[in-house]
Amino acid sequence: MPLLIRKYCDIRKQRVVVDGKKVFGQEDDAAARLFLKSVYRHFRIDYPKFFKMDGLSKLGFLTAEILLGDPAPAQIHAPENGGIILTNASSSVDIDKKHFDTIKSREQYFPSPSNFVYTLPNIMAGEIAIRHGMKGENSVLISRQFDPELIVGITRLAFETESLTFCICGWVEMNDEHYESLLFLVGQDDGLSDGDKSREDIIFDPLNLMKRYKAVNEWKN
């Protein structure tokens, strides 16, 4: 059964885009962490744990939140069968630096568990899994660039084990002030109508993923 892109959410360059439509944006050059906070506020998300997360987890969490949020896609009625397959280039480098700064010398040695736990990139997958009750397969893979062949390849193979009914997959990258997130909600073609979406355009293949990744170049204010 072919897999389809049911919805996607893109957070880059101070804006939030869902299925190709801009749903939120800021004109100013606010720091990444401030922008993410205004996204949280704009979408009226009520999840205090958000403020404890590192930047990478905040970015992944918000993208998934908007992807699975109002209106909730039909695919997620059984969240326990949902998988999460994320990729990025820089792993958790920002929080790694922060943890490293706390252990630079034995005289100033104050490592903190609340930083250290985020020095694993898959903690963002864990945060998304907890929030939405998703108990399926989850993983983080590292690639130099957005790699649609890798994302599609690994996700398809996960579906072939017949343990997933849907999957959130894509790219969540954060390195200093540079952030990029593009996540896809992928499900099997159940024959249900997807409104006015042309079927060709929503087939889950590397070409369609790359088209969406490159769309950022055409964004106008």
Binding site: M134, S139, L157
Partner: protein
């Protein structure tokens, strides 16, 4: 779907640089965990399972200085595996699959970073150097999923061959201990003041280890020089969806991974001869695992944790411990679970007290880690 075979395993750990050296130490019941008396890794003298530095220096002495210590360890490990099978590492139908949690994390130190390329701190940069060393034309797949990385890497390797994308996959997992890692676990207060004791009543936390493990996966059982062919039948992952740093209380997540692994492999619980558990020796992890194995109907299957020998080797653990599983199957030996004396978990699981001979035709390997992630895979003899 093609069958997938596993072999040509290598282990570099605190017990030695080949499978033979590691298994020899395990048969002697000799732990590779010793106090860090020089306080090199933390202000406290913690027990750690470190790779013997002098011998590692001798063995890796011929490698170019542009490789970091971890890259050299990957290269040594893969070289040993390649010498045990007929795989062309430079062929386009061979893939490298690298698993690690922190890679070259010591390069965060500007003094160290200057000696290497700017991409070297990134896991993809490290993986690219390893594949280039072996002349492989493909971009390596890199899995960084906490302590489950190794098991998950083997599962992805199995699927990539089974679906016909590659003929051979070299799965190599590695992590080195550093002040970065030790300080973090110290802040979590999850380290044992003495060598860890998985599933024991007096267990008091984990012991950290370092090392590298390699397993070659292939569609062709004929490429392996040693032992009878073992299939990697299949595996699956899951998430607890419960807590980012604590294991679930119920074991449901791990149970789900085991159930899917059995289904995918076309087996039931009774078909499993032995279990290589994650068994970190923290209070909650071991308790959680015992519940999951009982829920899966596996309370009578001999089980062990190898962490009493080699510590918790993080992103390498899944591959190193799976390599020990392959040795256990080829030798028909169940290895003693070091550090276990008095039963200390709720589930009435059968932790192995003495190394013993027994036909080991199937083996379940599991892992669980931070982020609530679990994974399980099954090896089966032909």
């Amino acid at each position: 779907m093609k069958e997938v075979f596993a072999g040509a395993e290598n282990i570099i750990s605190s017990l030695g640089f080949t499978c033979e050296e590691n298994i020899c130490a395990i048969l002697e019941g000799r732990p590779g965990i010793a106090p860090d008396v020089k306080h090199e890794y933390s202000p406290e003298s913690l027990p750690l399972a470190l790779v013997e530095r002098q011998r590692f220096g001798e063995l890796s002495g011929g490698l170019n200085r542009k490789y970091t210590r971890l890259e050299k360890m990957f290269i040594l490990s893969v070289k040993d595996s390649l010498a045990r099978c007929g795989v062309d590492a430079s062929a386009p139908d061979t893939l490298f699959l690298i698993t690690t949690t922190k890679g070259n994390i010591e390069l965060l130190d500007p003094a160290q970073k200057a000696a290497y390329g700017k991409d070297n701190i990134y896991l993809h940069g490290m993986a690219a150097k390893i594949t280039r060393f072996f002349g492989n034309p493909n971009q390596a797949v890199v899995v960084s999923n906490a302590c489950v990385s190794g098991v998950l890497g083997l599962i992805y390797g199995q699927r990539l061959i089974s679906s016909g994308r590659y003929r051979n996959i070299i799965v190599s997992g590695g992590d080195l201990l550093s002040e970065f890692i030790v300080s973090g676990f110290l802040s979590f207060q999850s380290l044992s003041p003495d060598a860890c004791r998985p599933f024991d009543r007096s267990r008091n936390g984990l012991s950290l280890g370092e090392g590298c493990g390699t397993i070659v996966l292939s569609e062709d059982p004929g490429i392996f020089a040693e032992g009878e062919p073992v299939r990697l039948a299949g595996g699956a992952g899951s998430n607890d969806a419960n807590h980012i740093s604590g294991p679930s209380r119920t074991g449901e997540g791990l149970y789900l991974a085991i159930r899917h692994a059995l289904r995918i492999s076309g087996m039931d619980a009774k078909a499993i001869d032995s279990i290589s558990a994650h068994g970190t020796a923290t209070l909650y992890n071991d308790e959680m695992e015992s519940k999951a194995f009982c829920a899966a109907g596996m309370e009578n299957i001999p089980l062990n944790s190898y962490k009493g020998y080699i510590g918790h080797t993080l992103g390498a653990a899944g591959v190193i411990e799976a390599a020990i599983c392959l040795q256990s199957m080829k030798r028909n030996l169940l290895f003693r679970s070091l550090g276990y004396h008095d039963h200390g978990v709720t589930g009435n699981i059968q932790v192995i007290r003495q190394t013993q001979e027994m036909p080991v035709n199937t083996c379940l390997k599991t892992g669980s880690g931070f982020g609530g992630s679990n994974a399980a895979l099954i090896f089966q003899k032909m």
